[in-house]
């Protein structure tokens, strides 16, 4: 297999004494193509070269992508296992660390039962590793308690798509088709900062006259270029979507033939959107009637439109409703399953799509199978070589695992590729829970805030020191290549899970010598499921610029466009959402009069473990800030750069005020990439969506004063 993949006629700069290895970025779901520059003599990673011929991103990268390679040979890498002795981390051998893990895991399980252990996974890992996390928890440790950080990121989109379309694939269309779209309806997505390399496609379409409608409480760099900016209040998406559908129905923009042939519940939907007149919608959302009408007309008249959304609508107590309603907007216009149109969510994490399909979720098994379905359990058990009776039952969601710790049901946790000490809501509760654990293991390559609570820290490799596949935000399965040998004594996550499995006497279920062997088993495990990867091979990915799942056999072309003939539901018809409006979990009051919302900045990724260690990114954005309108600043006598004290019912913090008119007058925005005293997640609300169990990061009631 080739290490450097380039199409004929494409020129790259080759420096003397260096080789280029083709791979993808480690950060968000765009998975931008890149070549990594490696010094041939030292084997060290020295830089990056654009991959001009990767069809999704064309060589483009954001500042995180450009500097991603700098985390590989970073001076703060953990190079040996660390064991906490008398409150201090001490370097140890792998033997000693594994002995300690084995002793404690076995003791805890014999005293408190199998389910006293738990695994907290993440989706910034390859499919092979994400697949193995579920197997590791259920087969090696035999516990039901496994879940992952996708609960904070993707699960509402998954829930909404399952409900309406029957299959959860992040995008129903391939990204290069966006160029031919006539209208983008984007809700709760600051694409320009969170998925910057998508912007090129929006502009390609805009150059042909395409329109953009952006719903966001802030006038983000994305909203700034919109034709209509729907400046809604945080947490009112379901009202906005219902209001838009009210207008689509009223003004005759519904594709009646499509809805009649392919959708259920149209009558119920019509009934439920009846009350959402522009006036009522405006009252709930704070968006002016004129803008609502203008947006509905532009969207309704566009022959090809894409409805796109991201965490802004998903990280809410009604995230699943929001996704179902926005998806229904696309269905009413008859857009899903056609060229250059459809519905898409922007996957936040690198492998947010692949990582959520293959059994890292408390209730899921590989191939998007369900653990409460006996047939599914039987199939996966046969692949794993266990008896169906040995398969543990469903566990609980990520945040709810901390409830289990508080109640003493979970006594030990292995955190893999995640930093919930920063990224989980209601931080104080999370930190207290970590302190209550008998024993905690963290696998990471930097000493994250979560590592600091651990008894044992195991040094893992970065993405550049292992190979495998990921699935990008389109649903395209792509290849991550190994760029260099592991740094220090670090091991890949799959080797670590394998070693612990051996210690737990389950080594025979983890016989892998290399990543392709895991992939072969994983293909088989996904076979026949909704997310079927069976026909996708490493060779095909290389030859075909990635392959879109579902791809049930090697002669199947893959599925760039979903739902062309039918939907993934039982009757093959999409279920339109008929749900009303409900307030967010926390609303403003006289005591807490302002809405706090959180999100990302372009310079940082998730909990910042990597990007806060990258000099260029820290120079651009060294600390969080409270973004507010000058009108609010004036009310509290705040000047730009003054420290402001924020307090919600759960926690407080002090940050600098950053003043701009590009935000609603009644909202404050704080980015969440920092830990400890700088973590805004001390303040955020853990109100969970009833279906997806995703917390409401996006809406909290806050009071402020000058610090």
């Amino acid at each position: 297999m080739t290490q450097f993949v380039v199409k004929p006629g494409v020129k790259n700069l080759h420096h003397e004494g260096e080789k280029l290895i083709t791979t993808h970025c480690c950060y968000c779901g765009m998975q931008c193509g890149m070549h990594i520059r490696v010094n041939e003599k030292s084997g060290k990673v020295v830089g990056v070269e654009p991959r001009y011929d990767w069809p999704v991103t064309m060589g483009k990268m954001c500042p995180k992508g450009v500097t991603a390679y700098q985390t590989v040979d970073h001076e703060e890498r953990i190079k040996k296992p660390l064991i906490k002795k008398n409150g201090e981390f001490v370097e140890s051998s792998w033997e000693e660390a594994l002995d300690l893990i084995e002793k404690n895991y076995k003791r805890i399980q014999s005293e408190h039962g199998k389910d006293a252990l738990s695994v907290f996974g993440g989706v910034s890992m390859t499919n092979e590793k994400c697949y193995l996390v579920g197997k590791y928890a259920r087969v090696a440790l035999g516990t039901r308690y496994v879940d992952y950080n996708g609960r904070f990121c993707m699960s509402s989109a998954a829930g909404g798509f399952m409900k309406t379309l029957g299959i959860d694939r992040g995008s129903t269309l391939p990204w290069p088709e966006l160029e031919h779209t006539d209208c983008f309806f984007m809700a709760g997505s600051n694409t320009a900062e969170c998925h910057p390399t998508t912007i090129q496609w929006l502009w390609k379409a805009r150059d042909k006259g395409a329109k953009m409608i952006v719903a966001d409480p802030r006038e983000t760099p994305t909203a700034r270029i919109a034709d209509v900016h729907l400046d809604l209040k945080s947490g009112t998406d379901s009202a906005l979507a219902n209001g838009m559908m009210h207008l689509l129905v009223k003004e005759g923009y519904v594709d009646e033939k499509y809805v009649d042939e392919r959708c259920n519940n149209y009558e119920q939907l019509k009934e439920s959107v009846k009350i959402f007149t522009p006036e009522y919608t405006s009252e709930l959302t704070g968006v002016s009637v004129e803008k609502l009408v203008k947006a509905a007309r532009i969207f309704g008249q566009s022959p090809r439109s894409v409805v796109m959304f991201a965490r802004g609508v998903e990280q809410q107590m009604k995230g699943v409703d929001n996704v179902s309603l926005y998806t229904s907007m696309a269905l009413l216009r008859g857009q899903i399953g056609k060229f250059a149109s459809g519905v898409a969510t922007f996957t936040g994490q690198g492998n947010g799509q692949g990582g959520r399909e293959h059994g890292q979720k408390a209730d899921a098994l590989p191939g998007y199978r369900k653990i409460d379905n006996p047939e599914h359990v039987k199939y996966v058990s046969s692949v794993w070589g266990i008896e169906p009776e040995e398969m543990p039952k469903a566990g609980v969601s990520a945040y709810e695992m901390f409830d289990k710790i508080q109640r003493g049901n979970i006594r030990a946790m292995h955190v893999i590729c995640s930093n919930p000490a920063v990224s989980a809501p209601n931080n104080n509760y999370i930190w207290d829970s970590f302190n209550k654990l008998d024993f905690m293991v963290v696998s990471d390559f930097f000493l994250s805030e979560t590592c600091e609570f651990a008894d044992v820290v195991l040094p893992t490799t970065t993405w550049a020191e292992d190979e495998g596949t990921t699935t990008n935000l389109e649903g395209r399965v792509i290849r991550i290549r190994k760029v260099r040998e592991p740094v220090g004594e670090s091991k890949t996550d799959w080797e670590i899970m394998q070693l612990i499995a051996e210690r737990m006497g389950k080594g025979k279920y983890f016989p892998y010598k290399n990543v392709p062997e895991i992939y072969e088993e994983f293909r088989l495990a996904s076979k026949g499921g909704k997310a079927d990867y069976y026909g996708i091979t490493y060779d095909r990915i290389e030859k075909e610029d990635g392959v879109f799942w579902p791809c049930p056999s090697e002669d199947h072309p893959g599925t760039p466009t979903m739902f062309q003939d039918s939907f993934g539901t039982e009757d093959g018809r999409a279920n339109l959402a008929a749900v009303g409006w409900q307030q967010p979990g926390e609303v403003t009051s006289a005591e807490y009069p302002i809405t706090l919302t959180t999100g990302r900045v372009v310079f940082h990724y998730l909990s910042g473990t990597q990007t806060r260690r990258t000099p260029f990114l820290m120079e651009q954005c060294p600390e969080p800030f409270a973004e507010m309108h000058p009108e609010m600043a004036s009310r509290y006598a705040l000047k730009d750069g003054d420290y402001v004290y924020l307090e919600t019912r759960r926690g407080n913090m002090e940050v600098k005020a950053k003043i701009t008119k590009a935000i609603r007058k009644d909202h404050i925005f704080v980015p969440y990439h920092w830990g400890k005293e700088l973590s805004v997640n001390k303040l955020t609300s853990p109100a969970l969506d009833p279906t997806s169990r995703m917390p409401e990061f996006k809406v909290a009631a806050v009071k402020i004063k000058k610090a």
């Binding site: 990056v48 954001c62 450009v66 910057p196 912007i199 760099p221 950053k658 701009t660």
Partner: protein, 180 residues
């Protein structure tokens, strides 16, 4: 070199990938030579990239008393030659765009050289390569002229595009930089 740098300020999303990428160019000593600025953050988030215009008769070179700033045959204005530069900083004051930077530790000026090690082989400079919104492009002269005409056509057809912001008052719609 048959290509030109083409900037569309309005497209800039302020991500500063161009600055990060500038540091990556061989011979740039991990120091960026371009700029990204807010027009006025109090008002809105419009940013714009700024880089060397590679002037035909560059003020920086004209005011250099040591003749240290060389221009390549393709018209690229290079950083001051290290052995000639006397560290007087005339160039940083002479440039009407404020492009040349001065390294006080090394006592020498440095500036955008359009990634000469790339562009002399017709490979796009790092900033234009990575710019996620195509605000900075490295394209054929003909393509640039075509783009300029097309933008005007679009505006004639649509009139001023509907927008809630008065962005058009802040920034010109396009700007071409000639290198030959």
């Amino acid at each position: 070199m048959n290509k030109v740098m083409y900037l569309e300020f309005e497209r800039c999303i302020g991500c500063r990938a161009c600055q990060a990428a500038c540091r990556e160019c061989g011979g740039h000593d991990a120091k960026e030579r371009n700029y990204v600025e807010y027009v006025n953050f109090f008002e809105n988030r419009q940013t714009y990239p700024m880089m060397c215009m590679q002037c035909k008769d560059p003020a920086c070179a004209k005011v250099c008393p040591a003749n240290a700033i060389q221009i390549t045959e393709e018209g690229v204005v290079l950083s001051a030659m290290e052995d000639k530069c006397i560290g007087c900083r005339n160039c940083t004051f002479g440039c009407p765009f404020g492009i040349p930077k001065f390294d006080f530790e090394e006592n020498k000026m440095y500036k955008c050289d359009m990634c000469y090690d790339r562009t002399k082989h017709d490979i796009s400079p790092m900033c234009a390569s990575v710019c996620p919104s195509d605000a900075i492009r490295f394209i054929d002269h003909d393509e640039m002229m075509d783009l300029r005409r097309r933008r005007t056509q679009m505006n004639l057809i649509e009139g001023k595009k509907p927008s809630e912001n008065d962005k058009w008052e802040y920034v010109p719609e396009f700007f071409g930089v000639y290198s030959d």
